[in-house]
Amino acid sequence: MKNQAMILDDLDLKILQALQENAKQTYTEIGSQLGVAHSTVYDRIKRMEEQGIIKKYTTLLDLEKVGMKQITAIMTVFTDPKESDNVAMRLSQFKEVLEVSTSLSEELLIIAKVVAEDQDKLHSFIAQSVAPLPRVLRIRTSIITKKYKEQGFSVEK
């Protein structure tokens, strides 16, 4: 079945924005900000969870503060177009790979966000786990040196 866009009203969008700012707020807190009952907030959130509009609640960690060093890289994998789905699925199974997307420019590419403790571990992962995947033609990797912004897409009220 084809995905159909759900119709959200102004209150739904305001609730989503409140959750994006702080997902730990209670229904009562959100309700009082928006001037509606907590039960209304509960019903709306429940419906949006059931419809898959709210996919999950997650935690954004400051890894440096918990003493975990890591580097992030954007890996572009060039594959035989017939095998790109299989390669993308296999990549998705590695814990080192955080995101996997495909892109069509001049050739079909798989773009993946990869994390590792250091450059040696990043290289070992790519050399031992990604390069051997069938039909991988070549790989380009860029290590991220500085991040200027990181956030999900925000709904507009």
């Binding site: 450059q119 070549r138 790989i139």
Partner: protein, 110 residues
């Protein structure tokens, strides 16, 4: 029964192949699953890849751990001190690996 020479000259599974990179995470698309193929690829791959792997110690590690050829690993390790680069590195590595390959091939036929 496998002789030491036939063991070293065997074709290894794809996951144990040598994958040629030019820098961290940048795979050229070239790989070798045997010493014979490795010798051929040394002639063909981007020379930056040979420089990258030689000074990281990747070639001798593969020779020693995957092909189980300590002799070749030692000979490749000895190239580090020559500080070779570019085509002179390619020529010397090709000479070292191909000479070892020919020696092992001749042992097979003894």
């Amino acid at each position: 029964m496998m002789t030491p020479a036939s063991r070293i000259l065997r074709t290894v599974p794809r996951e144990n192949a040598f994958y040629f990179f030019t820098s961290i995470g940048n795979y050229t698309g070239e790989s070798a699953t045997s010493l014979e193929e490795f010798v051929k690829k040394v002639k063909e791959v981007n020379v930056k890849s040979l420089e990258f792997h030689l000074y990281r110690g990747d070639f001798e590690k593969w020779a020693s751990q995957t092909l189980e050829d300590k002799d070749l690993a030692e000979k490749i390790r000895n190239l580090h001190s020559l500080n070779l680069a570019g085509d002179s590195l390619r020529d010397q590595l090709y000479f070292t690996a191909s000479k070892r390959y020919e020696k092992l091939r001749s042992e097979l036929h003894e």
